[in-house]
Amino acid sequence: MKSVEIAVVGAGPAGLSATLAAAGQGASVALIERDEHLGGQLVKQTHKFFGSARQEAGTRGVVIARRLGQAVREQAGIDLRLATTVLGYYSDKVLYLEEPDRLAKLQAERAIFATGASERMLIFGNNDRPGVYGAGAVQTLMNVHGVMPGRRVLMIGAGNIGLIVSYQLLQAGVQVAAIVEAAPRIGGYLVHAAKVRRAGVPILTGHTVKEAVGEEAVEAAVIWRLDEQWRPVPGTEERVDCDVICLATGLSPLGELMWQAGCRMAYVPELGGHVPWHDDDLRTSHEDIYVAGDASGVEEASAAMVEGRIAGLAAARSLGHDRDVEEKLGEARRELAALRAGPTGEKIRRGLESLRQGGDGR
């Protein structure tokens, strides 16, 4: 059985950053990715990132994916395993891998799980009709494969994903009928909201979708207004002409492997759901397992990249590697704190506080 010092699971922004940081310390690293490409969901992010220069601010996600991917391919000491799914983690530090044509095992002194998040469903009538698509699916279809998801889209959710994907739909030549948001306020960055508003897309706060219309696939949607207690107001129904209802109603961390490995998990609504307990080094309750990115709590990709660096550095340090590791860790921790310091980081700060106190923070 092959063995490495550090196995990184997931080649999105967090996993790629973790891999580079750990390999930069001289650790032998295996990067395991289910898909056939590097970059995870960065490959469909056509908007420019926020943050500062250290997190590639002003650069589009697609370009960041290319840069990080290239750096990983050029860095010595990385065992790259694409099209490989991790099936489980066992007590002798062994990962079971499903490769395209066979099962394999890999022993790793440390594992970093950067497994990302999955999209949330929303409850409404006919929500299983073809044409009700997750926002990530819409992005994948149009920005990776160059296929229009439809002719006219109703977007559900005015968080950053809903606002950004609406803008991307317009760029791809697809109409956006409206953005519907149940909360009384726009949750995403207001600069993203301004971009879609000036392109003529209304944002209907205090509204939600009642049902999808269409026997075989979406032909329209019915939306209605919510009162102050988030109860639908009968009589306010409105039919919206659309062939896609796009759900941007949040993400849930993908923690299955960490559940299975026996990490202590906690339910923290502010972090998106169940996440592994972890410390400032992104180390979980299992001393050989680290976590980074959305799997540790749903946040922006710029934060995921910094978390990846921290996990990679800390895991390498725990194995005795030290190329100015303390200094680099300190720098990364300061960057992460700065990203979270403002009003938009308030929720994450609250979630992490609750997690540190054991989770289930209600």
């Binding site: 056509t46 589009r60 160059g146 229009m148």
Partner: protein, 101 residues
């Protein structure tokens, strides 16, 4: 509906190949997910649910959710959102759980 011109992105599709959907011949680009080729051809209903036989399409498009299971070359439960298209593939709507032959 393919995006022919995009302000930010350039698409580099593979070779144009033929495959069948429910016996009907259609075209798609080699290497793209089967679901993308079907969607570009206007096909959104990919299977029917086991009990209520409701039409289903894809939902996550990255292999997480299992909403897009189809029968490909006789094999059921293929996630067509991540399964890559090859020339001559036989793609069929799946009814219910699908049967191993």
């Amino acid at each position: 509906m393919r995006i022919t011109d995009h302000p930010i992105l350039d698409f580099k599709p593979g070779r144009l190949v033929r495959f069948t959907f429910e016996g009907r011949e259609i075209e798609g680009y080699e290497g793209e997910p089967i679901a993308a080729a079907l969607h570009a051809a206007g096909i959104r209903v990919l299977r029917r649910s086991p009990r209520l036989h409701r039409p289903r399409g894809f939902f996550c498009a990255i292999g997480n959710c299992s909403s897009c299971l189809m029968v490909v070359d006789g094999v059921p439960n293929v996630r067509v959102c991540v399964e890559r298209l090859r020339e001559g593939m036989r793609v069929e709507r799946q009814e219910g759980h699908g049967e191993l032959k």
